[in-house]
């Protein structure tokens, strides 16, 4: 109890992702009761593995998106970055186990390059992040669809273990997500760069006057976001066994990643929120999906409920944050 009391001031200041985790726990328990009451087995290993797997693709993107949003920016190009990374890496690998390294490097390189372009357009040309990343997304979509219209390349069996294997019941991909989350958490909450991200997101002009290189910070978060999206693309390629050009946009990862970041308590205006909040929101979405799937509910109902949840959650945060400016 005393430990909780000690955390209260941080909670009030919105500097803890604890509330989101409590909600996740609640959702989890409700999901468990509802599914088990209707004759399912929510806690079955396969179901939990499914929930975890489902979280990986969105979780990887969400980490990058959270970094960008914390810095007061936004990335609408992640969906096509995912597709391009998936296609490029699987084409480079071409089913040859010896070329896995090259394929991974190529995928990540493309992701970083797209992130860099986003960052350059935003910082040098001073284009609003929404327009800039949407424009880059259109360019990427055009190039992708002009080059590929079907499954391209193939990933070797060894690389597919990223998508399918499990170590002591935990899918390999979950370790990947955990590693990325841990790295990003350390970067955002434990390094000088992390403070710069918050400062730039809070008020770029004040950050600049304080001697922070605003443009460089924005460039770096956008490159990191591109890398995260590319990782997600690699994971999806290993799941599908090949690069599918539609894998990113069909998953709706652009808007969905922004939604989970905001659902996790990160302010869309930047500079406020915790990285882990976004991750717990990703898990929440996965639990929802799992419950809806077990009832074989209509996907349209799922979309509807998601919309209500996103808006409702953000309304609650706005209430908690108590901004007075109308």
């Amino acid at each position: 109890v005393s430990a909780l009391a000690a955390r209260l001031p941080r909670l009030r200041a919105g500097r803890s992702s604890l509330p989101v985790w409590l909600v996740l726990a609640g959702v989890f328990v409700v999901g468990w009761i509802v599914v088990d009451a209707s004759g399912g087995r929510f806690l079955a290993v396969t179901n939990l593995q499914n929930i975890a797997q489902r979280s990986v693709a969105l979780g990887l993107v969400a980490v990058g998106q959270a970094l960008v949003v914390l810095a007061g920016s936004l990335d609408l190009s992640v969906a096509y970055t995912i597709s391009i990374a998936a296609v490029v890496s699987s084409v480079v690998m071409a089913g040859d186990p010896g070329r896995v390294g090259g394929g991974v490097a190529a995928g990540l390189g493309v992701g970083a390059a797209i992130g860099l372009v986003n960052g350059l357009v935003i910082t040098l040309l001073r284009v609003n992040a929404f327009v800039a990343t949407f424009g880059v997304s259109l360019v990427a979509r055009g190039v992708l669809n002009a080059t590929f219209d079907n499954f391209a390349g193939a990933v070797p069996k060894q690389f597919q273990s990223l998508g399918y294997d499990a170590v002591v019941g935990v899918p390999v991909s979950v370790f990947l997500l955990a590693g990325v989350v841990a790295g990003a958490w350390w970067l955002v909450h434990r390094t000088r760069f992390g403070y710069h991200v918050y400062a730039v997101g809070g008020n770029p002009e004040v950050a600049r006057l304080s001697g922070i290189r605003v443009n460089r910070t924005l460039l770096v978060v956008h490159v990191l976001c591109g890398l995260c999206a590319a990782l997600s693309g690699l994971f999806l390629a290993s799941r599908l066994g090949s690069g599918a050009p539609w894998v990113g946009p069909d998953g709706g990862y652009d808007l969905e990643s922004i939604a989970v970041v905001v659902l996790g308590g990160v302010a869309l205006t930047g500079g406020k929120g915790r990285l882990l909040g976004a991750i717990s929101a990703v898990l929440m979405f996965a639990v929802f999906d799992s419950v809806f799937n077990s009832f074989e509910a209509s996907p349209f109902l799922r979309t509807l409920v998601r919309g209500v949840i996103i808006v409702g959650a953000v309304a609650l945060y706005a209430r908690r944050g108590g901004q007075d400016t109308p």
Binding site: N145, A259, V262, P326
Partner: protein, 356 residues
């Protein structure tokens, strides 16, 4: 980074003709130059939004490659096809000038078309009350967007994203996945019919008339009324506007209502010539925002003009025609649109950084 000292003392000095190239890199335009010419350009630049010169240039290229395009009939057909985007862009402009975004218009267009078909079942006698019902529905969606954004303080990006998901989910839940019913002939007439026997141009589609009326109403409302001033004040500086006695919540809600009503209007036009489909409005939210950005409005609020948004929507539409005429592969048109969008936004950002 700013070159304020260099450009000081000069008003808007861009040369309209070089709009495109200067947009690509902010530094391409030297801010020096002959003052007399600059002031002439300035006078023209403030009277006519730069996008209209881009539009004229694009039009010239299209006609050069395909002279038939200048024929009245094909010109009118082009305007007819652009009308829904024009109407949507005009609605979106109000929201953008007030400093918000409306991502729900695409879903609202789809919802309106699907609802009209489902309730109408092709019966022409139901058309009138269906149109009224749709307008009421649009009013409701706009009020909801506004209330959630202003009273619950949810960022409009999230509010309207939520509305988009809810509308998409609800409509197809109701119709069971695919649109059912059919659109009445007299409802479709608004989108595909035309006034015949007009001198010079032979015929004028109703859709073009609707777009013209919408443009005039938007112009009067945004640039000639007190409400319009309040929209600019709200987007330019919400705090200042609030302290000056503007009820910014009401103003922003009103802009969402205008945007939603424009979506219903666009849906009726689109239902006319495109017919019933499950993805009738898909992507229109982004196209409307792109058209507004083309017209030089700044996302973030406080800047924008009806004539420029109109030019932006027509340019975007004409750009698709141009790429078609030039024989670009369909996917690459997206790329060109993306590049042009970034160029236009960069040009606007460059212009706004310079003192007037």
């Amino acid at each position: 980074v700013t070159n304020w000292s260099e450009a000081a003392g000069q008003r808007l000095t861009e040369e309209p003709v070089s709009t495109k190239s200067s947009g690509r890199s902010g530094k391409a335009l030297p801010s020096g130059g002959r003052p007399s010419r600059a002031s002439v350009a300035s006078a023209i630049g403030t009277a006519i939004p730069p996008i209209w010169f881009v539009l004229a240039l694009t039009f010239a290229i299209v006609v050069w490659r395909n002279p038939l395009f200048a024929e009245p009939l094909s010109l009118m057909s082009f305007l007819k096809r652009s009308a829904p985007l024009v109407v949507l862009a005009l609605g979106q402009l109000f929201v953008v000038v007030a400093g918000e975004l409306d991502l729900s218009v695409g879903a609202l267009v789809t919802a309106s078309v699907v609802i009209a078909a489902r309730l109408g079942q092709g019966d022409p006698h139901r058309t009138w009350w269906i149109v009224l019902l749709l307008l009421g529905f649009g009013l409701l969606v706009g009020l909801l967007n506004g209330a959630v954004t202003t009273l619950l303080k949810v960022p409009s990006f999230i509010t309207t994203l939520g509305t988009m998901l809810v509308l998409n989910g609800a409509v197809f839940l109701w119709t069971g996945g695919s649109p059912t019913g059919s659109l009445a002939a007299n409802l479709r007439e608004a989108g595909r019919g035309a006034v015949q026997g007009v001198p010079w141009v032979e015929q004028v589609p109703y859709a073009v008339l609707v777009a013209l009326v919408a443009g005039s109403v938007a112009y009067l409302l945004l640039h000639r009324t007190r409400f319009g001033h309040r929209v600019f004040a709200t987007g330019g500086g919400p705090r200042t506007a609030w302290l000056s006695g503007v009820d910014t919540r009401r103003v922003r809600t009103a802009t969402f209502v205008i945007s939603a009503l424009s979506a219903v209007c666009a849906a009726v036009l689109l239902a006319g010539f495109a017919g019933l489909s499950a993805n009738a409005g898909e992507g229109y939210e982004f196209q409307a925002i792109a058209a507004v950005v083309f017209g030089g409005a700044a996302l973030g609020g406080g800047k924008g003009r009806v004539s420029a948004a109109l030019g932006g929507a027509l340019t975007l539409s004409l750009l698709f025609t141009l790429l078609n005429v030039l024989g670009f592969a369909k996917p690459l048109r997206d790329s060109v649109e993306g590049l042009t969008l970034i160029a236009a936004a960069a040009f606007t950002a460059y212009r706004l950084r310079r003192p007037r």
